[in-house]
Structure formats: structure tokens, C-alpha cells
């Protein structure tokens, strides 16, 4: 459009000059006007052939068809970090572990075919260790005329809000430790989604928590963070928007001058593992539930969530029930237009029947965000402190977690400092 304006201005100038010159030489003004019209028509035709169907819009690069029926948007994320982990010097492990990390390097393609009703999204990520490029999202969505959307493929189940807020839109460098234990991750399934001005709902039938990139025969695991395939799983989430819009609440931050936003979310998930008659087989039923609240306003934001999980394991006549809980509370405030201070407390309360030395684990995080171009170019520095001894989390497989940066410590007081620059394209 800007190019068209520039052409019009130049050609307009040409027209004026032509008129003046024509008058001087005694030529007809009508003929000059005809010449100018011809030039403008030609320029207009050429402009429409140019990259009107490709460019950069809403923060992403795109290609589309003339009629808008087909579109392809290419997008990516680079999150690069420097981490320093400090542990007690009495540990047998390294008490100081520093280093750079390509935490997330993602490339994706999304768009629609035939009409905007048929949309797709494919997203891959280069592993921070080994650099393998692997699939994260791969789904198709159909939007019905009544606004209902059906999504099928590999995606995040509608469960924990902290997980559903996308990686680049988090408040701290990384999600909480609590989230990493109770997370739904990505799953393969089908979901029905509904979005209105005051309410969002999602209902999914899937292969269960953290079942990304699994074949239909992949067995489930029995760890504190379940993965593999369940025989079946059902997930439901409902969100009530009391103020603000879904777009404003798609991240945790809130710029200065932003209106009030308030949302309450409730979700539940049930899954059942494959159940064979083999005596050595362990069957697992799992029910997870959460309630969360989000508030944000003029340069401030608050988020809190409570998560619970009932975990039932049965093998060889033994029947074990565990009830584990987690909580997170975080908040941020803009101390300048693009500078934000934030703090977070999160905790995991594991069932005492698990026979652990330590059942409760508390973590504090505080830091600063510098928004250079919103989330598209953002620098974050934060520190996480573990208030408890965490060898039991190591035993359970929840730590070390190089994404969070905590590696596990026999003493309380493990600290990880994280510096991150993020770029979205």
C-alpha cells in the first residue's frame, strides 16, 4: 500500500509537470491527462502483480492466494539462555554448573486451505541437547459456522493454564517446577473448542498426558510425570472471562494503560492405561484437576493456580492410591513502560504414602523482564531458589530439569540464575 502511494505521488508529480510542460508547448490538457491516466493504470496493474500476496503482518511472514482462500504463515522462536546452577558444596555432584543453552528454537507453519474455516498448524523444535528437530504441534482445525471449532492432531490438552500460555508469553524465563510435574504436555487427540465473549470451553478425547510423538502401541510410563499412551483419556476445561478479552489474557503480562482483565478457569482430566490380563502388568488410572485465576490491569498482573492429582496403580493384587497437589502464585508489575519486576512461589505436595523423606517442595522465583519489542524481542533475568532438599524429586524423575535449570540438591538452597533473550519471527 505504501508503495502504491509512493507511485501515485510520483506519477501525480509527473502529471503536474506534464500539464505544465504541455501548456507551455501548446499541447492539449486532455491529451496530457489521457497519458497520465494510461501511466496510472499501468502502474496500478504492476503493483497488483507484486507481493501483495506475501509480506509481514501481525508479527509474522506470510504468503496467501489472491482471494485469501489459502494462506501460509511461517513463524519461529529463539530462546537463548545462560544458566548458573549453585548447589551445596557437600554434594557429590558439581556445586557450580554454568553454561549456555539453546532452550527453544522452533520453526512452524500455519495457515488455512480452501477457506479460513480449514486451518492447520505444524510446529517443530530443535532439541536443546543433540539439536534434533522434532514435532511438537501438528493439527488441523475446522471452524463451524456457529463458532465451534473441532481440532484433531497433536496439541496441548485444555488442562493447566500455565502450560496453555505459550512459551514466549510466560512471565519468568521458564514455567514453574510445579507445572513441570503436573503438566499435560502435548497429546494426540481430538478436541471441541468454543470461544465466546465471556466463556471458553474445551473438551478433548486423547491418548493421555504427555503422549506426543507416540505410536498407538506405545506403552504408558508409571513415573510422577506420566508419558506414553493411555488407552483413552478425557479432558475438559472451562474459562469464565469476567473482564477483558481472551487476546489480552493469552500471556501473563499486562502493559501500562491496559484495561482490567479477570478470568477463572476450571479443568479436569481422566485417563486409563492399557489393561491386559498379564499378571506383571501395572494398570494406572489417573484423575487430575485444577482451578486457576488470572487478574491483570494497568501495568500489573497476578496469577494463581491449584492442581491436584489422584493416581491409582494396580499390579499383582496390590492397589496403591496417591493424592498429590501443587500450587503456584505469581505476579508482576511494570516499573517502567517496558520494564517489569516479577515474583513467583510454587510448591509441590506429594502424598505421604509415597514413602519419601521430603513430601513438600517449595520454590521461589524473582526477576525482571525488559520488553524491547513486546514479546518479539524480550530480555529476562531471574533466579530460582529451592527452599527444600530435592533428592526425592530426583528419585521420582522430576529433577534434574535442565529446562527449569534445577538439577536437584541434597540440601535446601539450590539456586539457579537464568538470563534469557527471546526473539520471535
Amino acid at each position: 500500500m505504501r508503495t502504491t502511494c509512493a507511485l501515485m505521488a510520483l506519477l501525480g508529480t509527473s502529471g503536474l509537470a506534464a500539464s505544465y510542460a504541455g501548456a507551455q508547448s501548446g499541447g492539449s490538457t486532455d491529451e496530457v491527462r489521457a497519458v497520465v491516466s494510461e501511466m496510472l493504470a499501468d502502474a496500478n496493474g504492476r503493483t497488483s502483480l507484486l507481493a501483495a500476496n506475501a509480506g509481514h503482518q501481525d508479527g509474522n511472514f506470510f504468503i496467501s492466494s489472491d482471494d485469501g482462500a489459502y494462506s501460509l504463515t511461517l513463524y519461529g522462536l529463539i530462546q537463548f539462555r545462560y544458566l548458573m546452577d549453585f548447589r551445596d558444596e557437600d554434594n557429590t555432584t558439581n556445586e557450580f554448573e554454568p553454561g549456555f543453552q539453546t532452550a527453544r528454537t522452533k520453526i512452524g507453519a500455519r495457515g488455512h486451505i480452501v477457506s479460513p474455516a480449514w486451518s492447520y498448524n505444524v510446529l517443530g523444535n530443535f532439541s536443546r541437547d543433540g539439536g534434533t528437530f522434532s514435532l511438537q504441534d501438528a493439527y488441523v482445525e475446522y471452524k463451524m459456522e456457529n463458532g465451534l471449532r473441532v481440532r484433531w492432531g497433536q496439541f496441548k490438552l485444555p488442562l493447566l493454564r500455565e502450560e496453555l500460555v505459550d512459551d514466549p508469553y510466560q512471565l519468568a524465563v521458564e514455567r514453574s517446577v510445579m507445572n513441570s510435574i503436573f503438566t499435560q504436555g502435548r497429546s494426540q487427540g481430538v478436541a471441541l473448542l468454543c470461544m465466546s465473549n465471556w466463556c471458553n470451553t474445551g473438551l478433548a478425547f486423547s491418548d493421555g498426558l504427555n503422549s506426543l510423538n507416540t505410536d498407538f502401541t506405545t506403552p504408558g510410563t508409571l513415573g510422577i510425570v506420566p508419558s506414553g499412551e493411555a488407552d483413552w483419556a478425557i479432558t475438559g476445561r472451562i474459562e469464565f472471562l469476567f473482564a477483558g478479552s481472551k487476546k489480552e489474557l493469552q500471556d501473563f503480562t499486562s502493559p501500562r494503560g491496559a484495561p482490567l482483565g479477570a478470568m477463572l478457569g476450571l479443568a479436569g482430566h481422566y485417563q486409563q492405561s492399557p489393561n491386559t490380563s498379564a499378571i506383571t502388568d501395572t494398570d494406572r488410572d489417573l484423575f487430575e484437576y485444577t482451578v486457576d485465576g488470572t487478574l491483570e490491569g494497568d501495568g500489573w498482573n497476578v496469577f494463581g493456580a491449584f492442581v491436584g492429582r489422584w493416581d491409582n496403580l494396580r499390579t499383582g493384587g496390590t492397589d496403591s492410591d496417591f493424592n498429590d497437589f501443587g500450587a503456584v502464585v505469581q505476579g508482576g508489575v511494570r516499573v517502567a513502560e517496558n520494564t517489569e519486576l516479577f515474583g513467583r512461589w510454587d510448591a509441590v505436595f506429594l502424598d505421604s504414602d509415597r514413602g519419601l523423606t521430603e513430601d513438600n517442595f517449595h520454590f521461589l522465583t524473582f526477576g525482571v523482564n525488559q520488553y524491547i519489542a513486546g514479546h518479539a524481542a524480550k530480555f529476562t533475568a531471574d533466579a530460582v531458589i529451592s527452599l527444600d532438599e530435592t533428592p526425592d524429586l530426583v528419585t521420582l524423575g522430576a529433577l534434574p530439569n535442565t529446562s527449569v535449570g534445577l538439577l536437584g540438591d541434597a540440601d535446601s538452597g539450590e539456586v539457579v540464575v537464568r538470563l534469557q533473550f527471546q526473539l520471535l519471527f
Binding site: T3, I113, V190, D215
Partner: protein
């Protein structure tokens, strides 16, 4: 619009402006002449710029002589496998599967003669890693002759040569999975005329994708040749198996042969193998109906290790017959029978003939670009242990896992989107 394009346009207009000012001082005729010259100049400048958008082949960006096309495929499936309850394995195995998620880049450079194609796929298992499927360059010599080199599918089994996005059922036949060529590394010479075409390849052998030249999975050398004779119809209509209502009659006969020789070392433990594969196939299609049949076979001659003697060569055969019918404009029912006949010398005891029946339904929302498929596969034979783990052909790709009893059933519900 890029800064470069703006610059070129503005420069062109500015040059024109100077020209117009001086020319109009002369006469209107001269003005017109200058304007015509200016438009001609503008035409040249425009042709240097890039175009982008979406055409019949998908998303593209092009400049003069250069084209880059980008596309992808999402095949997402729900599979439910039912086996005999006496099986040691799980008698009911359901679940979703990201069967195929692919991204590709292709186009031409310099001119239309030089073409390239790169395609990768995310694995449905094993962490969803992205692996190379195709990477080739081709050159068009003119008069129908072309050459292609890189990693590609050898021209051998027609069912395998038809894209996974354009199959009739949710998945290719089990016979195809048993005999198929998959991707190979090699060089091909081809010719295409109105009524017939052929392609011959020198390669590293069947299923040699992503192998280094020292890999034991590679043959020392392999030759493949396939010829197709078009009795009626257009070449394009044989890119898939289906035929829409109103489609014209088409008939195609194909025949192919493949020979490969394994690496041959003097190590006493070494097993040498010569592989001869062959196939003939017929494709017919018309006004809303289609039929396809193929016979395929292979002769395996192995020698070694030292002391094991020279075993008899084995001959295995396969058949597939399938057909589809449009019962509505975009709704198609189809059925397929396929079978594998293993050499009786290959199977020590038990079953050596394996028969499978597939029936299903396609719903085309936007041709192959948005297509839902529901089908059922029924195994008439005991497939475990003689078929499957030891011989291939079964697995999570087809959904048939192998059963010690006959009657294994697989239900596959799939949606495919191409972009």
C-alpha cells in the same frame, strides 16, 4: 513489499519523471513515444521482481527463472486394533497416531529445466524426529528425456510410487509394504512421450534412504527399470487411484524389474544376497470408478556364511486388487484384497499364504487436500509368527500388528490435510 522492490519501482518512476518533463516540452506525439518507452522499461523492471502467492500447485515465491514452492502434509489417524484374546499381546490396542507430518520445498532454478525437491517427515514415534525422505535434482534435456539424481523413490511398484497423500485407502496394502522399494539413493534417466514412458535407475538398492556409502543396509549396486503404456487418458489422472464423477476413461499398463547385489566380502561370516524383483500392474478408471491390480514377486538368492552351504533361492509373490466407486460427488466406497505368498522353503512350519481384505469410505472435502477416510482391514490368516516380525509387512504403519489366530481386525479413521 521489500525495500529492494520499492527502490526499483521508485527509481523507475523517477527516471520516467525526468523523461516526461523534457519530452512534454516537445510535442504530444513525442510524449507518447517517451511514455511508451517508459512503459517498456517499467515492464523490464517488473519482470525482475518476485511474485508470491498460491496457485494450482500450492504456495510459491518466484523470480525470473527461479521458483520456490513450499508445502506440507498432515495425516492424523485413530487406530483400533482387535486381536484374539488368547494372544500374549494386548487384544485391544487403540490410539491416535500422527501417521505422516511432512514438509517439502521444491521448484526450479535458472530456468524450468533445473528442478529440485527436498522433503522431510516427522517420525510418528521415536520422539517425532524430522528425517529426510527426498532430496533430488533433475534436469530436463528436452524431447521428453530427463535425468534425476539424489534420494527418491525408484520407479518400481506403482502403489508405492503413488504419493501417500493420494492413496485409495488410509494406507497402502500389506503386500506393498512387503515388496516395496521405499526411498533409495541413485541416479535415474527417464523418457516421457504421449503414449508411454520409462525410467531406469542405478542406485544403492531398495530401502537405502539416509544411508552412507559404507552402510551394510546398502547394496553394492542396483538396477531398476519401469515402463508404462498409456492406452487411454492423460498422464495426470494416473497420479492417484481415484476418479471423480465425470472423469474420462483411462487405462495404464506398467511393468518393472529390479536387481541388486549386496556387498560381497571375503569374511567367513558374510552373507551375500542377490535380489530380483518384478511387477506388472494395470490401472483403469472412468466416470466415478476406478480399479487397480498388481502382481509382484521376488527371487532371493543368499550365500553364506561359510559352512552354511548354498541355500536354495526363495521365491515370494504378492497380489493386490482394489477398486473404488463414487456413490456421491465427493463420497467414495472402496475395497481391496491383497495377499502375500511366501516360499515354502522360507517358512519352516505353519502358514505361508496371507490374505487381507480392506473396505472403506473416502469423503473428499477439497479433493486430496482435505480428505477423511474410514476403513477396516481384516486378516484371513494367522500372521504371527511367520509374517510380521521376521518378514516385515506388518506394523503400526498399516495398523496390522500380527496375531497367532486369524481374524485380526484394524479400524482406521484418518483425516488428511495438504497445504
Amino acid at each position: 513489499m521489500s525495500h529492494a522492490k520499492k527502490f526499483v519501482l521508485l527509481a523507475g518512476a523517477a527516471i520516467s519523471l525526468v523523461g516526461v518533463n523534457s519530452a512534454l516540452a516537445q510535442s504530444n506525439d513525442e510524449t507518447r513515444a517517451v511514455v511508451a518507452e517508459m512503459l517498456s522499461d517499467s515492464q523490464n523492471r517488473t519482470s525482475l521482481l518476485a511474485d508470491a502467492g498460491h496457485d494450482a500447485k500450492g504456495f510459491m515465491i518466484s523470480g525470473e527463472g527461479f521458483t520456490l514452492r513450499v508445502g506440507g502434509q498432515i495425516q492424523f489417524r485413530y487406530v483400533a486394533n482387535f486381536r484374539d484374546e488368547d494372544s500374549t499381546s494386548n487384544e485391544f490396542e487403540p490410539g491416535f497416531q500422527t501417521r505422516r507430518t511432512k514438509l517439502w520445498f521444491g521448484g526450479n532454478i535458472v530456468n524450468e529445466k533445473w528442478k529440485y525437491f527436498v522433503q522431510g517427515a516427522f517420525d510418528r514415534d521415536e520422539g517425532g524426529s524430522f528425517g529426510l525422505e527426498q532430496a533430488w535434482v533433475s534436469y530436463d534435456f528436452g524431447s521428453g528425456f530427463y535425468s534425476k539424481w539424489g534420494q527418491y523413490k525408484l520407479a518400481f511398484l506403482r502403489e508405492e510410487n503413488i504419493s501417500s497423500s493420494k492413496q485409495l485407502a488410509a494406507e497402502r496394502s500389506i503386500a506393498n509394504e512387503f515388496f516395496n522399494q521405499d526411498y533409495s539413493q541413485g541416479i535415474a534417466l527417464g523418457y516421457k512421450a504421449d503414449a508411454w514412458r520409462f525410467e531406469a535407475s542405478f542406485s544403492d538398492g531398495l530401502g537405502s534412504r539416509n544411508t552412507d556409502f559404507t552402510s551394510s543396509a546398502e547394496a553394492d549396486w542396483a538396477l531398476t527399470g519401469r515402463a508404462e503404456f498409456k492406452i487411454d487418458g492423460d498422464w495426470d489422472q494416473f497420479d492417484d487411484f481415484t476418479a471423480p464423477r465425470g472423469g474420462k476413461f483411462g487405462a495404464l499398463i506398467g511393468a518393472a524389474v529390479h536387481y541388486q547385489d549386496s556387498a560381497n566380502t571375503s569374511a567367513p561370516t558374510d552373507v551375500d544376497m542377490q535380489y530380483l524383483g518384478y511387477t506388472v500392474d494395470v490401472s483403469l478408471e472412468g466416470d466415478g470408478w476406478n480399479a487397480y491390480g498388481a502382481f509382484m514377486g521376488r527371487n532371493l538368492d543368499t550365500r553364506g556364511p561359510v559352512g552354511a552351504g548354498d541355500a536354495d533361492a526363495t521365491d515370494d509373490f504378492g497380489f493386490v486388487i482394489q477398486g473404488g466407486l463414487r456413490v456421491a460427488e465427493n463420497t467414495e466406497i472402496f475395497a481391496r484384497w491383497d495377499a502375500v505368498f511366501l516360499d515354502e522353503d522360507t517358512v519352516v512350519s505353519g502358514e505361508d499364504n496371507f490374505h487381507f481384505l480392506t473396505v472403506g469410505l473416502n469423503q473428499y472435502y477439497a479433493g486430496h487436500a482435505a480428505k477423511a477416510t474410514l476403513d477396516f482391514v481384516y486378516s484371513f490368516s494367522e500372521t504371527s509368527p511367520n509374517f510380521g516380525g521376521g518378514f516385515g509387512g506388518l506394523g503400526t504403519g498399516t495398523g496390522v500388528l500380527g496375531d497367532t489366530e486369524e481374524g485380526e481386525v484394524v479400524v482406521r479413521a484418518q483425516f488428511q490435510l495438504l497445504f
